[in-house]
Every structure is written in structure tokens, then in C-alpha cells.
């Protein structure tokens, strides 16, 4: 249907395209550690060794009934429903930070189950609804 030249161009372009897609895939794969924004408590548990001087981000859910406020400090537990990590933090807390919601804590590990956070980010989920709907959902539970 198409001429020889069209086919040749198509072949050449697909070849270049494939090679570049492949290289990007390999680059992203090897940089996976940096592409992920945070790691889970389970991944921390499985780390071969922990580096106390390296700033890391841990993400998960704030475990229900674990937020403790005292003077200038807040402590809570991040869970991924398999493993947990205790977090200690002093500073500004984002509006959306609350129990049962997603959170990303950035700071330094003291050991595998304790993080001294320097920054707290709240994570929003994909649900958007008016307050009345949320209430109705809660009541139906």
C-alpha cells in the first residue's frame, strides 16, 4: 500500500523509538531508589543496614489512636498494615494530617522502628466528596 521509502522511514523511526524507550526504562529501573518518593515501614525493616546520617522519607498511614501531642512535640505511628515505625516530630503540621490518613515523614532513622522527623507531609487520597456524603458513609459502616 505504501511505498518503499515510507516503510523504510517507519522502520528507522520505530527502531530509534524502541531503543530510546528501552534506555529510559533501564535508567528509571536503575534509579528506582530515587524515583520512589518514600519507602514503607516494611521496606525499612528489610533494609540490609540502616544509615543514621542519611535523610529518608517513610510513608504510610497514621495508625489510629497513636497521635500523642506534648508541648512542642508530636509522636505517632506510621503503619503499612504489616509493619510499623514510630515517628517523633516537632514543627508545623499540615492541615490534612490526621489519624487513618496517609502521611510522609522525612528525617533520620534512629533504628529500624524509630524515625526522628524533620518534616511531615500529609498525603491526600483519590477520594473527593462533600462532608454529608462522608457522614452517610460512616453511618452505613
Amino acid at each position: 500500500m505504501y511505498g518503499k521509502k515510507v516503510k523504510l522511514r517507519l522502520l528507522f523511526l520505530s527502531f530509534i523509538f524502541l531503543i530510546i524507550v528501552l534506555s529510559i526504562f533501564l535508567i528509571l529501573k536503575s534509579l528506582e531508589e530515587n524515583v520512589v518518593y518514600f519507602i514503607s515501614p516494611t521496606e525499612i525493616k528489610n533494609l540490609p543496614e540502616i544509615d543514621n546520617s542519611k535523610r529518608i522519607r517513610v510513608g504510610g498511614m497514621v495508625k489510629e489512636q497513636t497521635i500523642k501531642l506534648s508541648q512542642n512535640e508530636v509522636s505517632f505511628v506510621i503503619t503499612d498494615f504489616k509493619n510499623e515505625i514510630n515517628v517523633n516530630y516537632s514543627g508545623a503540621i499540615p492541615n490534612l494530617f490526621s489519624e487513618g490518613k496517609g502521611v510522609v515523614a522525612e528525617g533520620y532513622l534512629s533504628d529500624r522502628s524509630f524515625l526522628k522527623a524533620k518534616k511531615i507531609l500529609a498525603k491526600h487520597d483519590e477520594n473527593y466528596m462533600p462532608p454529608e456524603v462522608k457522614e452517610a458513609l460512616e453511618n452505613n459502616k
Binding site: Y2, V6, R9, L10, L13, F17, I20, V21, I24, L28, E32, V35, V36, Y37, F38, I39, S40, G59, A92, I93, P94, N95, L96, F97, K101, V104, K119, I120, L121, A122, K123, H124, D125, E126, N127, Y128, M129, P130, P131, E132, V133, K134
Partner: protein
């Protein structure tokens, strides 16, 4: 029609279209803004900052969609040498870049009260920034090269390479852990945005789409006039 491109015939159509599109745009954006800012409810957790979504999400969609169209046109330009697509692809870019920047800026404004930070180098946000860079390179390439044959090839290649980034943006929230929330709307599962919020989102998307078509036509007409002034009756 595709191979033999006649600027005069096309121009007689595209020069009339903007005023009608402007009229529809004004109507749709008026209703959309009323819905988005006044009639739609606040969110159960974000309260009023959810309204930023009605600008942020449509802008992001349109900048992604526009780039995809440019890439498909560029593919046809290189493989099938369809000359009439050249000016269309070129004229689409400015509106796409504008909406890309709007998406980044509104996302930043939303991120501060919700996440607690203006910017995060997570996969979604970074890949969106890369898309903006591709738009800029694409537009700059058009300005730098004079040689017609060369500029067609170079810009088309930039668009095709940039297209690799499009699925990365789309699936970044699924492939890697990101601060950005995953998609709320999907073809295969129930959307997790309440209907009362889907109405302004749909209206604003329609309004922004009309606006980008308007900007496209204005740019396209300018390009056609440029060709006319050069005394060429075909490309």
C-alpha cells in the same frame, strides 16, 4: 485534501470559527465557574481548597492531550510526509504549554495547604515538569531553524521523543510511590469523585478545551497569513 494543502480555502473556514468558539467558551466557562466556585460543595477533608482541582485537573488533561495530538501529527509528518499537519502541530504547542504551566502552578498552590509543601520531586510532578521542558524545546526549535525541511524533521522528532513521557506521567502514580494521589477517574472502575464535584470538573474541562482550540485557531490563522504574505499558495 491532505496532500494538496490550500491555505486560502482553509483560511476562509478557520478565520470565521474563532468568534463562534469564543461565544460558546464564554457561556461554558460562566456556568463552569459558577459551579466550581459557588454551587459545588466543599470537600470533607480539604474543604475549599478542593476548588483548585477544577482548574488543575482540566489543565493537566489538556496539556497531556495536546502533546499527544502533536506527537501523532508529527509521526504522520515524518512517515507519510503529510505537509498540512505541520502548521497544525506547530500551532497547537503554545496552548499546551500554557495549560501545562497552569497545572504546575495550581498544583503547587494546592500542595502547600494540603501536603504542607509547595514542591516535591516525586515522579508525577517531575515528569510533568519534563513535559513542560519538551513543550519549550519544541517551540524554541521552531524559532531557531529557518530551513523548512530541517525544522519539520527536528520539531517532529522532538514531539515523538517527548511522547514517551506521556504514559510515564499517566502511570507514574501507579508505578512508584508518589506524594501525588493516584487517579480518581478510570474507564474500568468507579470514579472516586462525588457527582456533585464531577459536574464542575466536566464543565471546566470543556471550557478549557474550547479555550485551547481558540488559541490554536488564532495561532493557526497567523501562520496561514504568514504563508499568504510570502506569496505561496501551497506549502
Amino acid at each position: 485534501m491532505l496532500k494538496n494543502f490550500e491555505p486560502n480555502k482553509v483560511f476562509s473556514l478557520t478565520s470565521k470559527a474563532p468568534k463562534y468558539i469564543l461565544l460558546i467558551f464564554i457561556i461554558v466557562i460562566s456556568i463552569g465557574l459558577l459551579e466550581a466556585l459557588i454551587f459545588s460543595p466543599e470537600d470533607y477533608i480539604q474543604s475549599h481548597s478542593v476548588r483548585i482541582m477544577y482548574v488543575h485537573v482540566p489543565s493537566a488533561w489538556i496539556s497531556l492531550g495536546t502533546f499527544s495530538v502533536i506527537a501523532i501529527l508529527s509521526f504522520s509528518i515524518i512517515i507519510f510526509k503529510i505537509k498540512s499537519f505541520v502548521l497544525i502541530a506547530k500551532s497547537l504547542a503554545p496552548a499546551g504549554l500554557v495549560f501545562n504551566i497552569i497545572a504546575l502552578v495550581t498544583g503547587s498552590i494546592w500542595g502547600k495547604p494540603t501536603w504542607g509543601t509547595w514542591w516535591a520531586w516525586d515522579a508525577r510532578i517531575t515528569s510533568m515538569l519534563i513535559l513542560a521542558l519538551f513543550y519549550i524545546i519544541y517551540i524554541l526549535a521552531w524559532r531557531i531553524y529557518d530551513n523548512t525541511e530541517k525544522v519539520n524533521k527536528i520539531t517532529s522528532l522532538i514531539a515523538i521523543l517527548g511522547a514517551i513521557n506521556v504514559p510515564i506521567i499517566k502511570y507514574s502514580v501507579d508505578w512508584w510511590s508518589t506524594l501525588h494521589q493516584p487517579a480518581s477517574i478510570s474507564i474500568f472502575s468507579k470514579t472516586s469523585i462525588h457527582t456533585s464535584m464531577m459536574i464542575p470538573l466536566g464543565l471546566m474541562t470543556a471550557a478549557f478545551a474550547l479555550f485551547s482550540i481558540l488559541i490554536f485557531l488564532m495561532k493557526y490563522n497567523t501562520e496561514l497569513i504568514k504563508i499568504k504574505n510570502k506569496g505561496l499558495d501551497r506549502l
